[in-house]
């Protein structure tokens, strides 16, 4: 059927192609009844041309008029002019960025490298279209949400591809990034695709927390049960919440290396001379360099200064190290059995996921940066060793490790990223089977080079324009996506793009309660392996 203008009328048709380019996007004249207010930025659309089907998203909308004098003449117009001109002299255009294409009758999408011809009809995407692009839920795909205005359709994320790169979940506070992160963490763990090490700054991943809606949201431990070990740096906080952590973590001063202090230089306000002194001290005193340094009497300090160190810098360093010493979980010597790092490694090696809860230290930036960096450095070195050994001997490589860090800009800001292990992991990617899941509300604070290595970016609403620019930097079609990202709703909506997705998509993220309930069903996910798992699942 056609309307008076000869344009195709079909409820799923939004409009027809009237111009555009591959680089700037396609101009779509909106033709459907009432479609002007229905078409939204971020809507997933398809263009059915003669030999190809194109997939894209609406990235901008504009109101146009055939006559430039419309604005000046409309105040003097006849009352019915608005009806007469609607859709004729005055009309709406949508900008559609083509992302993928398939041959008609084929299923394998490729990046869009050609254009549909003029007048090709543009449709809202159907369930089948979404399944063609994002796959269906299976052993490696997880249902993450629904495209805008398609509540019954499932967008799936390829987790196998996801864990091959470092990834980012961004969004301002309260936008739902923690729940999204939990969904990802749980799904990756359930499917046995990687082992997690989570630096849980605000104690929200391990155990149940209260969501903004007032309901209790299950933590990883409740869903994955004995598959998750909770390490608490602040066991009192855990016990106050009525929980029993698996391990009370104590960090020995002898576990801290000069590199760990170097990272903290800006946080603790240690000068460059102070940092250099750390290396000298470590050379001089060995593993117990901090304890020995702090134990020095006045003569010892004079002696050190005589050896060439700057006495002012030494004094300042001592004061800062004393601050560190006073942190509750720091003790003089490492825990027996190789210390905290060894314990974390043992749990990871046995296939358990480790949640490192910070309790009240979550607000202490230096404590968080120190622990996260200290543990990750050792673990990365261990994985590196194991991977190289496995390569040399041809044995099975260690299971991939995903390290989740919050407030990532504290480790990955320009200048620091060069020094921290997280910068190295982000750059080396999967070579040593360790990747990052970066959770942050200030992506603009993250080093550009590191951000460019983030494979898949999941972005909830961001207020700051600099953050929006930072998240999109280097992404294909970033200029067009900017309009989409800056118009996300404040909750439960996210823009997903990057390595694990064939094309960017805006989704209403799935309900966490429903997800947690589904994941908690006995027998869901991979088969239990240890007797403890079996006991948990089957009683």
């Amino acid at each position: 059927m056609t309307n008076g203008n000869g344009l195709v009328q079909d409820p799923t048709v939004l409009g027809v192609i009237v111009g555009g380019s591959l680089s700037q996007g396609l101009d779509v004249r909106l033709t459907g009844e009432g479609v002007v207010e229905d078409a939204k930025v971020g809507t997933f659309v398809t263009v059915l041309a003669e030999r190809h089907k194109y997939f894209g998203i609406i990235t901008d909308l504009s109101l146009e008029s055939a006559d430039g004098r419309l604005a000046s003449s409309i105040p003097h117009a006849a009352p019915a002019m608005s009806e007469v001109l609607a859709g004729t002299g005055a009309f709406a255009l949508a900008k559609v960025t083509p992302m993928l294409m398939t041959g008609i009758g084929e299923d394998e999408p490729q990046p869009a490298r050609s254009l549909p011809a003029h007048f090709a009809p543009v449709h809202r995407a159907s369930n089948d279209d979404v399944a063609t692009i994002f796959g269906e839920e299976d052993a490696t795909h997880i249902y993450i949400g629904s495209p805008m205005d398609m509540e019954d359709t499932r967008v799936c994320l390829n987790l196998e591809e996801l864990v091959k790169r470092s990834n980012g979940v961004f969004g301002k506070s309260g936008s739902g990034k923690s729940f999204l992160t939990r969904i990802l963490l749980t799904a990756i763990a359930q499917r046995g695709l990687a082992t997690h090490l989570i630096f849980d700054m605000h104690s929200e991943y391990g155990w149940q927390t209260t969501a903004e809606g007032g309901y209790a949201a299950k933590g990883l431990r409740q869903i994955l049960q004995s598959g998750v070990s909770v390490f608490a740096l602040d066991p009192e906080s855990a016990r106050r919440r009525g929980l029993t952590p698996d391990v009370d973590v104590r960090i020995g001063l002898d576990e801290i290396e000069p590199e760990d202090i170097a990272i903290l230089a800006s946080t603790l306000n240690i000068s460059e001379a102070g940092v250099n002194a750390c290396y000298t001290l470590a050379d001089k005193y060995g593993r117990r360099w901090i304890s020995d340094f702090l134990a020095l009497d006045a003569d010892g300090m004079v002696q050190l200064a005589a050896d060439g160190e700057h006495s002012g810098a030494l004094g300042a360093l001592r004061r800062k190290l004393r601050d560190l010493e006073r942190i509750g979980f720091i003790q003089e010597q490492a825990q027996s059995g190789g210390g905290a790092v060894r314990q974390v490694l043992e749990h990871l090696t046995s296939g358990r996921h480790v949640v490192m809860e910070f309790g009240r230290y979550g607000d202490d930036q230096s404590a968080y940066v120190l622990v996260a960096n200290l543990i990750t450095r050792r673990i990365h070195a261990e994985y590196r060793k194991r991977t190289e050994e496995a390569e040399a001997s041809g044995t099975t490589q260690p299971k991939p490790l995903v390290i989740t860090i919050e407030e990532a800009h504290r480790f990955l800001s320009p200048g620091i990223a060069e020094q921290t292990i997280f910068g190295t992991i982000a750059r080396e990617m999967r070579k040593y089977r360790v990747t990052l899941l970066v959770v942050d509300q200030r992506p603009s604070g993250i080093d550009e080079e590191v951000l460019s290595q983030v494979g898949t970016r999941i972005t909830c609403q961001l207020d700051n324009e600099r953050d929006v620019d930072a998240v999109l930097r280097g992404a294909p079609g970033s200029r067009e996506l900017k309009g989409v990202l800056s118009r996300l709703e404040s909750q439960q909506q996210a823009l997903l793009f990057g390595h694990a997705l064939r094309m960017p998509v805006v989704v209403r993220t799935r309900d966490y309660q429903e997800f947690a309930a589904e994941m908690s069903l006995p027998g869901w996910g991979k088969a239990p392996t240890s007797p403890a798992d079996k006991a948990d699942l089957f009683g």
């Binding site: 309307n3 008076g4 203008n5 008029s65 055939a66 006559d67 004098r69 419309l70 003449s73 409309i74 003097h76 117009a77 006849a78 009352p79 019915a80 002019m81 608005s82 009806e83 007469v84 001109l85 859709g87 004729t88 002299g89 005055a90």
Partner: protein, 222 residues
């Protein structure tokens, strides 16, 4: 008896045929081109109104785009006769020959045609109608048929009128005003027609506005 009955039937049939062919007939073609016809009305002052859809014979449709009453003999100019008359009617009563010395002509702009039994084509015919082809006013059924007969009117003829010189916008508005009562509801027809005009005028807001103002749409959005 039988013969009488038959002749009565034939008479009735003949009279119906004559009535049918007379119904709506108002004049005949006296000058013809493909785009435009001049028709002379059979009765002085009995021209269809401006914008009325008319038919020349069975094949050509046009709209009245001009009406002229003048002396039958162009070389003899009409003179004023009513100086002593009390009314205009008295002038005509005193000079009965006037009815024979004056004529009313209509200018008809061609807007479509149809071939025997075929649908209406809203574009110019291959040939103009012959001189003396009778001219008819159209019935509401014919108006609907001309506009395509469907739920959405066909308005392909609009560019033919838009491009026509003179008081084209007034004529076009008059055509739509006359056609609207044949549709239910007329307002919907007028809005659809207005959109066709807007497309034909490529968004020329001032002209579209002038035409829309001439349409009975003042009541606004229902």
């Amino acid at each position: 008896m039988l013969l009488g009955s038959r002749s009565a039937t034939i008479r009735a049939w003949l009279s119906a045929l004559v009535n049918q062919s007379l119904a709506g007939r108002f004049g005949e073609v006296v000058e013809a081109s493909v785009e435009q016809l001049i028709g002379q009305c059979h009765q002085l002052y009995e021209a269809p109104p401006l914008g009325a859809l008319v038919r020349a014979g069975d094949g050509v449709f046009g709209v009245v785009s001009g009406i002229v009453t003048s002396a039958l003999d162009p070389s003899r100019r009409v003179i004023a006769r009513g100086q002593d008359a009390a009314s205009e009617a008295e002038v005509y009563a005193a000079h009965p020959q006037l009815e024979r010395l004056l004529r009313t002509d209509v200018t008809i702009t061609t807007v479509g045609h149809c071939e025997a039994g075929g649908p209406v084509r809203q574009y110019l015919p291959a040939q103009p109608p012959r001189i003396h082809t009778f001219l008819y006013q159209t019935t509401p059924e014919e108006v609907r048929w001309f506009f395509g007969g469907g739920s959405t009117p066909s308005l392909d003829f609009v560019p033919l009128l838009v491009g026509w010189g003179g008081a084209a916008d007034d004529v076009l508005a008059a055509v739509l005003r006359h056609a609207a009562p044949a549709f239910n509801p007329p307002r919907e027809f007028l809005i659809e027609a207005g959109k066709a005009v807007a497309v034909a005028l490529a968004g020329d807001t001032a002209r579209i506005n002038a035409i829309v103002r001439r349409l009975p749409l003042a009541e606004g959005r229902p």
